[in-house]
Symmetry: C2
Subunit: 112 residues, 2 copies
C-alpha cells in the first residue's frame, strides 16, 4: 500500500548524494536525513539504496571515506567529495537540467 512506484527515479540518487556531500564531510545516515529534510519529506532514501550507492560512488573515486567521530561521540564513516567527484556533480547537475527541460518540452508549452 502507499506508493505504487518507487520514490526515486533511477540515476538521480547519485546526483543527490554528490550534491549533499559537496557541502562538506558527512556520514551516510546524515546524508539520507539531509535529503529528506531539504526535499520537505518528498524524498526518502532507503538504507538499502543509500549504502550500495555510497560504496559505488566511492569505488568510482567520486567520494573518499574515513572513520571519524560524530558530534554525539559515535564512530561513523564520513564521506567527502574528491576532485573527480566535484566534476561529476557538475556533469550530473547539467544532465539533470537538460533532461528536465526535455521533459518539459514534450509535456507541452502549456504550463502554468
Amino acid at each position: 500500500m502507499g506508493e505504487a512506484k518507487s520514490d526515486l527515479l533511477q540515476g538521480t540518487l547519485d546526483l543527490l548524494i554528490l550534491q549533499v556531500v559537496a557541502a562538506g564531510p558527512i556520514h551516510g545516515y546524515a546524508i539520507a536525513k539531509r535529503i529528506q529534510q531539504r526535499s520537505k519529506d518528498a524524498l526518502r532514501i532507503q538504507q538499502g539504496s543509500l549504502y550500495p550507492a555510497l560504496h559505488r560512488l566511492e569505488g568510482r573515486k567520486w567520494l573518499r571515506a574515513k572513520w571519524q567521530e560524530t558530534e554525539t561521540g559515535r564512530e561513523a564513516k564520513f564521506y567527502e567529495l574528491t576532485a573527480a567527484g566535484r566534476k561529476q556533480l557538475e556533469i550530473e547537475a547539467m544532465d539533470w537540467e537538460r533532461f528536465a527541460e526535455a521533459i518539459r518540452l514534450v509535456m507541452g508549452p502549456a504550463r502554468s
Copy 2:
C-alpha cells in the same frame, strides 16, 4: 562509447508516451519520432524500449490498440488513451512535477 548512462530516467517513458498518445491516435513509430522532435532531439526512444513499453501500457489498460492504415497507406498499430490511461497520465504528470520540485529543493535555492 558515447553515452555512459541511459538516455532516459526510468519511469519517465510511460509519462512521455501517455502524453503523446493523449493528443490522439498514433502509432508506435510516430510516438518515438514525436518525442524526439518535441524534445528538440534531446530524447531518443529506442525501439527496444518503445515496444515493450507500449505492450506494458496496453496490458495495464491505459492504452487501446487497433490496426489501421497510415496516411502513407501502410498498416500500423494505432494506440489511443483509455479513460484509465487519461487518469494515469494526470497522476504521472503530477508525480513528475512533485519529483522535479523535490530535486530542485535538494539542489539548493541557489539557482540562476
